[in-house]
């Protein structure tokens, strides 16, 4: 269990890392330290948001996803394109063409994650409408896995408000497997479901699921990896009409506010960019947004369209998606007999658990003592938050010192001070011993 809990898609390629402090300063959970000339990720703290991947000037931070060759492990391969994929291609007039290109490059069937999003939207709308106890805080979207992990690490008291509905990816995977097994009379074990992902957090969601006992997805392929192949295949795609089903609301989930619009709750707020999301979560925690019914927080600026594994510029992709969705109908997921997923299937199987790794000690008295020591160490540090010591801030260094991971002389200012003292002592000694 421990091993799966800390599975990570975000990794460091040590030979590319220069040991600069760029990533250090932008990690929202202070999960990076630099020592011995390169960065190190504290696995307990990392939420796989990909902020470091985007920032690293040397591309030393990478996301590990499955290779395309993993398709060969299955007899029947199903592609689950994230709606973000639709905005990646120049001149694409018709989503159906892109879905057909997926067949051309080797998939046997396609199920749109946007359709999964339509099912999820309906479930969430029901949760908001039938909420029994309002604790002065909005219900919170569970769609962005980096934000769910951020809440587990930094805002555990908000976990009760995260909606107990599975992600559009998982909904699509479940529906896809059911459809393929029925239509092709296939053995479920022979069917490989592949999510085409804009971000590393989705890979982690599949490998170390939190809401389900086991993910319905078999493989995760980066949009960046598949982009070139698809772009070539689109040109000769024939366009089968029967692959494209999702409407404007489902496809809209790719960008910030799309979920909010699809769920259709009036008193909602959508926020993107992890720093902005942190600010709003702070306000929610303060009871300052008690009039809000639903909160959609996305780690990447622009929403999933801004994911670190996408090819196209976020705003260019957003504009393309806008033009593509203008042609779509504002449909919602099929109901009654036509529905592919039951409410029960769309519900999470497990509660999101707190991951309070920022905590100093399990024992409160010990934590208090450590905090006292931290304040003492901190009062002696320069307060410049320069990062040269390898910890992101002076406070983080003080914590690292007290927890035994660093020493005060890791601070170059303290070191300089010490050297000055020592050289003065040597001069004094030389003076004293001169005959």
């Amino acid at each position: 269990m421990e091993q799966t809990t800390y599975y990570h898609s975000v990794m460091l390629e040590r030979d590319k890392c220069k040991g600069c402090t760029t990533c250090l300063k932008h990690c929202p959970t202070e999960a990076i330290r630099v020592y011995g000339g390169s960065a190190h990720i504290i696995k307990e703290r990392c939420i796989d948001c990909g902020a470091c991947i985007r920032r690293c000037p040397y591309h030393a931070k990478v996301a590990v996803t499955d290779p395309l060759s993993k398709l060969n492990d299955y007899k029947i391969k199903v592609a689950l394109p994230a709606p973000t994929l639709y905005g990646q291609f120049k001149g694409l007039q018709d989503i159906g063409r892109l879905l057909d290109a997926l067949i051309a490059i080797g998939f046997d069937d396609v199920y749109e994650v946007a359709r999964g999003a339509e099912y999820v939207s309906r479930e969430i709308a029901g949760r908001v409408a039938h909420r029994r106890v309002h604790n002065g805080m909005p219900l919170i979207s569970s769609a962005c896995p980096a934000i769910v992990r951020l809440i587990q690490v930094r805002f555990p008291e908000l976990l009760d408000n995260v909606v107990d509905v599975i992600s559009p990816m998982e909904a699509a995977a479940l529906a896809a497997r059911k459809r393929v097994c029925r239509n092709m009379s296939a053995d479920p074990a022979d069917v490989g479901i592949f999510f085409l992902t804009p971000c590393p957090a989705k890979m982690t969601e599949v490998r170390a699921p939190q809401a389900l006992k086991k993910s319905h997805v078999d493989g995760v392929i980066s949009i960046m990896e598949i982009y070139g192949k698809l772009n070539a295949a689109i040109k000769d795609a024939r366009h089968f009409d029967n692959l494209q089903h999702a409407g404007a609301y489902g496809v809209g989930w790719a960008q910030t506010g799309g979920e909010m619009l699809a769920v259709g709750v009036e008193n909602s707020l959508a926020v993107d960019g992890i720093e902005n999301v942190i600010q709003v979560l702070e306000s929610i925690e303060n009871g300052d947004l008690s009039d809000l019914d639903y909160f959609e927080g996305l780690a990447c600026v622009g929403g999933c369209l801004g994911g670190p594994l996408t090819f196209e510029n976020t705003y260019v992709a957003k504009n393309r998606l806008r033009r593509l969705t203008e042609r779509l109908e504002k449909t919602s997921a099929p109901e009654g007999e036509q529905s592919e997923l039951s409410s029960e299937e769309l519900r999470t199987q497990m509660l999101f658990q707190p991951n309070p790794v920022m905590k100093l000690d399990d024992d409160f008295a010990a934590a208090l003592r450590k905090m006292e020591q931290i304040e003492r160490v901190l009062s002696d540090l320069p307060g410049l938050d320069c990062g040269s010591c390898g910890s992101p801030t002076c406070r983080a260094l003080a914590e690292d010192v007290v927890l035994g991971f660093a020493v005060e002389l890791d601070c170059i200012f303290k070191l300089k001070q010490k050297i000055q003292q020592m050289s003065k002592q040597m001069v004094d000694m030389a003076e004293m011993t001169r005959k």
Binding site: N286, K359, E372
Partner: protein, 140 residues
């Protein structure tokens, strides 16, 4: 003798820094691993009282301390003082000026909300001198 004790100054009309003290308090309590239900109540109270100092008072201090038994917030301002405490403790009563209300503050829920969320709550006020609020939160 509390192990953690810090005094924060809060200035009148300082909307630029408003919320920073309560953010620091929250960060410390999270590092200490304070139970999330208690943390939520302290968050609400510390934010509310900090905003009160910015909006209603002539400035003051928040004295934050933690020991084994609990968290204490002792808040003192240097005026103007509340003329009718009973009225001020009633929900919906507010002296916030229009300029502040349009910013979304001053709904008159502040003091009653703090009283509801704190395990111990005491308020003393003298017009022309100032107001003192003591809030305690018990830890299991």
């Amino acid at each position: 003798m509390p192990l953690i004790a810090e005094v924060f100054e809060v200035k009148k009309d300082d909307f630029v820094s408003a919320g920073e003290v309560s953010a620091k308090i929250k960060r410390t309590l999270k590092k200490l691993g304070v139970d999330s239900a208690v943390l939520r109540r302290i968050s609400v109270c510390s934010y509310e009282v900090e905003l009160n100092l910015v909006i209603h008072s002539l400035g003051g201090t928040i004295d934050f301390s933690v020991d084994q038994d609990g968290v204490t917030l002792l808040v003192k301002d240097c005026g103007p003082g509340i003329p009718d405490l009973n009225l001020a403790m009633r929900e919906g009563w507010s002296t916030a000026p229009e300029s502040v209300r349009t910013m979304g503050f001053g709904a008159g829920m502040g003091l009653p909300n703090m009283k509801r969320n704190a395990d111990e709550f005491d308020i003393q006020s003298t017009v022309g001198v100032g107001t003192e609020i003591l809030m305690k939160f018990h830890l299991k």
